[in-house]
Symmetry: C2
Subunit: 107 residues, 2 copies
Amino acid sequence: MDRERLKGHLDLLLLAVLEDEPAHGYVVITRLRERSDGGFDLPEGTIYPALHRLERAGLLVSDWVEHAGRRRRAYALTAAGHRELAAERASWTRFARGVIAVTGATA
Amino acid sequence: MDRERLKGHLDLLLLAVLEDEPAHGYVVITRLRERSDGGFDLPEGTIYPALHRLERAGLLVSDWVEHAGRRRRAYALTAAGHRELAAERASWTRFARGVIAVTGATA
DNA sequence: ATCCATACCTAGTAACGCTAGGCATCGTAT
DNA sequence: ATACGATGCCTAGCGTTACTAGGTATGGAT
């Protein structure tokens, strides 16, 4: 999976992964890897700054949780986050259909 | 269409548009706009540097053509360009399936 | 004791597509 | 005649992004 492809799509992935149940950064990485069957195996240096960016943008809220002696920062979608996720999914669909129409590639 | 989404996918679009019949930059822009039903309406500042990059990479060859008093630079795929296009299409499919699997979005 | 998994963070980097400007020709409408 | 839009090319610099590479720390297993 060429990493340059990910640019502009990461927010959609993160919001989708956090949609149903909140999670902390480490689990976000795991979920992405599992749900994509290994396709998205993203480094921490990608995930943590992105989560911070989404929180600054008001799409996520975080709170610190103590668990088995380790501190975790759990993220959840705000109302704006849910709206943004819907918009991102629609934007993705337009984009993907465009690529398919132009290139004849399949999804 | 969020422009940031395009990053990493432009090469695929350009190679696909030039696959069957060579064209010059201006026509590439037109074809992208038409085939995507207006979704990809890309500025010259995106297209021309990208074509130069692909030529430097050995995926395209160009030659200057005189037409109705205007000079045009026509681009065509090299053998390496055709191979790269096939690889890009496969890469796109993996990527798209990953996004769909993670987000539940549709193409 | 050592190592790996867990769990967080950030400064700096490379690559990308885009903005904004430039130059030139042709056809058409004023 | 001339102004303007469409055609047709180019590039320096910009903003955003995901990543590299480094750091800190705890818990469990060997």
